[in-house]
Symmetry: C2
Subunit: 117 residues, 2 copies
């Protein structure tokens, strides 16, 4: 059995599932509305399978509204993944710091060259 | 072929690979040092395979230092994943806001009940 974080990252490792989350970020939607944009390239059961992966990873929850089953984003699973990632923030900020330092050196060099002329 | 972001999330969807990144967050390391803690549960080629997945996803880079191949974290691939996640921050903050609102209601109710006594 996959651990919770692996399940979350695994669920996010698919462009269709991320597109479904992007759609849900504009508001709750039922399964057929969610499936609509994908039906040209895949079957309804294939979309349903993607929704099941998202639901199993805790990234979406299904609620029953009258006769409709509505899907919505569940932020907590995303928070766990974001928290894990936060620990590594220093690495990408460091690479931007290096770029920043490099750009400053280049700019200073050009300014000095300009002054020499 | 997997898109870049799917490749990153897929590489992160494994506890061994996340443990390798955690180890590398304490500093650069060569392959045999990195493999050491895992050799009780898996073979060296299995660890090497995990390193290849991380390298292919751009999460680590290998550099040659004298006769050693050293691995280090590459922050940029993580930044892309964190940027994607940032878009959904509102969802987990919203769930904490709801918890916060609930706790305030409970506290207010208890205070009121205390005053009634």
């Amino acid at each position: 059995m996959q651990d919770h974080l692996s399940q979350t990252f695994s669920a996010l490792a698919d462009p269709t599932r991320r597109a479904i989350l992007a759609r849900l970020s504009t508001g709750e939607a039922n399964v057929s509305d969610l499936a609509q944009p994908f039906l040209g390239e895949m079957s309804l059961p294939a979309v349903t399978k993607h929704l099941q992966v998202l639901e199993k990873a805790g990234l979406i929850t299904k609620t029953r509204k009258a006769q409709w089953r509505s899907c919505k984003i569940n932020g907590e699973a995303l928070k766990d993944a974001a928290d894990w990632m936060e620990h590594y923030r220093v690495y990408w900020e460091e690479s931007f710091d290096r770029l920043d330092a490099y750009l400053k050196t280049v700019t200073a060099k050009r300014t000095a060259e300009g002054e020499d002329q």
